[in-house]
């Protein structure tokens, strides 16, 4: 009993420290990658004992700055509601990660630890349901601060998140039909093999490229970041967290990065083979290369490789999301809503019917 509890706490600590840590690193990557893309140097002023460390100490200086700033609450606003909104946003941003499998099994003291926080049959639905709740924090933040611009920002957020939330669900029906399951761990198992005589990993992206593109686009929209940052639009169109300062603002800011990581995790799990390493098979006890060679790997090594592969893939997708974020300009609200309803929704419905038709013809 205690052992199970400790294992669960350990898994939760591992996953969420990885999630928060990656989100914190993304705040640094955001600056550094944008600087490199624009042929600049980027953040490099903060130092620890004279070490610049490529500007990594800026993560700490940011946190110190946000924590020591004045926490301003507008007059006539219930303080507890004002404080609730960032925490709703932050919590809801973190929770979908609980359904994500971050590894297969880890052999530990003669016992196999399932590397997933909640092994649910409806893991995907759970993740999407929690992700759709992000709207509550946003609406609360806009509404409670009694600022008409903040309210307008949160209404834009509502229009955007609801519109794209629909597409988010429908775009994943194609992969779900293909895998025949809503369980995220089983989805990864389906992808943890190869096709084309062992040359190509059986990843969802190769079978559902359209769904991948639509899901990634909608995922960016769900994170409320550029090019879909009309709910926020910090300096130009004023977002829903206008009346927040200090660490409460930091919570909203961090929630965006956490959502980015969570979207990357979902993308990896559904389309990029999750924790599966290409050509590595736990049943065969090592790598089975396409040309017939075999490299033996001990079971613990297999488990660690898979755990590492998950984070590597998540990091790669985060990198891609940042690349997109620093490339495209912001959509207008009408453009964003039209993109959601007129382009992505028909495309995802088309993908659903196409996948269903193909599966019907092929006969599973």
């Amino acid at each position: 009993m205690l052992r199970t509890l400790l294992i669960d706490v350990g898994k939760a600590l591992y996953l969420f420290s990885g999630l928060m840590g990656l989100a914190a690193i993304l705040t640094w990557m955001e600056r550094k990658q944008s600087a490199l893309m624009q042929d600049r140097v980027g953040a490099n002023r903060a130092r620890i004992f004279g070490l610049r460390l490529l500007g990594l100490p800026h993560i700490i200086t940011d946190a110190v700055k946000l924590l020591t700033k004045e926490d301003f609450v507008p007059a006539g606003v219930p303080t507890w509601l004002h404080a609730l909104a960032p925490w709703v946003t932050l919590t809801v941003a973190c929770l979908p990660a609980a359904a994500i499998p971050f590894g297969h099994v880890l052999p530990w003291g003669g016992q196999a630890i399932e590397l997933q926080l909640m092994d649910m049959q409806v893991g995907l639905v759970y993740a999407l349901a929690i992700a759709s709740m992000a709207i509550y924090g946003v609406i609360l933040a806009g509404w409670v601060t009694r600022n008409k611009w903040a309210v307008l920002g949160s209404l834009r957020a509502a229009a955007q998140l609801i519109g794209f939330g629909v597409v988010l669900g429908i775009s994943l029906i194609g992969p779900v039909l293909l895998y025949g399951t809503l369980n995220l761990q089983e989805m990864v198992h389906w992808q943890d093999t190869t096709v084309l005589h062992g040359w190509l990993p059986r990843w969802g992206i190769f079978f559902q490229p359209l769904a991948f593109l639509v899901f990634l686009t909608v995922g960016i929209a769900e994170t409320k970041r550029i090019p879909f940052d009309l709910p926020e639009g910090e300096s130009e169109i004023i977002g829903y967290f206008l009346e927040y300062s200090g660490m409460k603002f930091g919570a909203f800011f961090l929630a965006d990065f956490i959502e980015t990581v969570v979207v990357a995790m979902l993308t990896v799990t559904v389309f990029l083979g999750g924790w599966s390493v290409p050509y590595l098979s736990a049943d065969q006890g090592g790598f089975v290369w396409p040309w017939g060679a075999h490299t033996a790997v001990p079971p613990a090594g297999v488990a660690l490789l898979q755990m590492a592969a998950f984070w590597v893939k998540v990091f790669a997708v985060c990198w891609l999301l940042l690349l997109i974020r620093w490339t495209l300009p912001r959509f207008r609200i009408d453009q964003a809503v039209r993109l959601g309803w007129q382009y992505l929704l028909p495309l995802s419905v088309l993908n659903t019917f196409g996948t269903a038709a193909v599966l019907l013809i092929v006969g599973q």
């Binding site: 990658q33 490199l36 042929d39 600049r40 690349l323 490339t327």
Partner: protein, 171 residues
């Protein structure tokens, strides 16, 4: 429907092409110059702060006359002894008692260095002209001290020549 496809094509192209450009630039070297730690490499004939090599100055006043913003102030007194010649062989007939350039006024047009017959007035590559008091931007090139100047003026009976604007009156 044709319009739908038109927009679809241009949107897709407009997303993918910038992504490619961003990706290419990601692997380029930064163009930033970390200024206080490294200085920019200037072009050979950059026009920066002026410098006058007063030993070669004959006090001909051409620079002060050509200056479009009147930032050069010169006062000369007829020499009562042989002052020698400049590097270019011009005979120095005048004491240059005041040679002030107000860099705050200077428009860096390079006209003064063009007309200088002895090439003693030049533009240096020094561009770091920030000072706490703007009067510190008045560069005083004359080597003659105020005491020596008073002595020279007394001997010459107060007869001076030159282009002395507001600067010289302040000096």
């Amino acid at each position: 429907m044709k319009y739908w496809w038109y927009r679809f094509y241009y949107t897709t192209r407009g997303v993918l092409w910038p992504l490619w450009v961003g990706l290419v630039n990601l692997f380029r070297r930064p163009v930033t110059i970390q200024y206080p730690h490294e200085k920019p490499r200037l072009f050979p004939r950059s026009r920066m702060m002026l410098y006058n090599d007063i030993d070669n100055c004959i006090g001909c006043l051409q620079c002060a006359r050509v200056c479009p913003v009147d930032c050069i102030a010169i006062e000369t007194v007829k020499a009562d002894k042989d002052l020698g010649v400049t590097n270019t062989g011009h005979k120095k007939k005048l004491y240059v008692t005041i040679f002030d350039i107000d860099e705050a006024k200077c428009c860096y047009c390079n006209l003064c260095t063009e007309v200088c017959p002895t090439e003693c007035l030049v533009m240096t590559p020094n561009f770091e002209g920030s000072v706490y008091d703007r009067y510190n931007l008045i560069l005083r090139f004359a080597k003659i001290t105020p005491e020596e100047r008073a002595e020279i003026l007394r001997k010459a009976g107060g007869k001076t020549a030159g282009v002395t604007g507001i600067l010289a009156r302040k000096a």
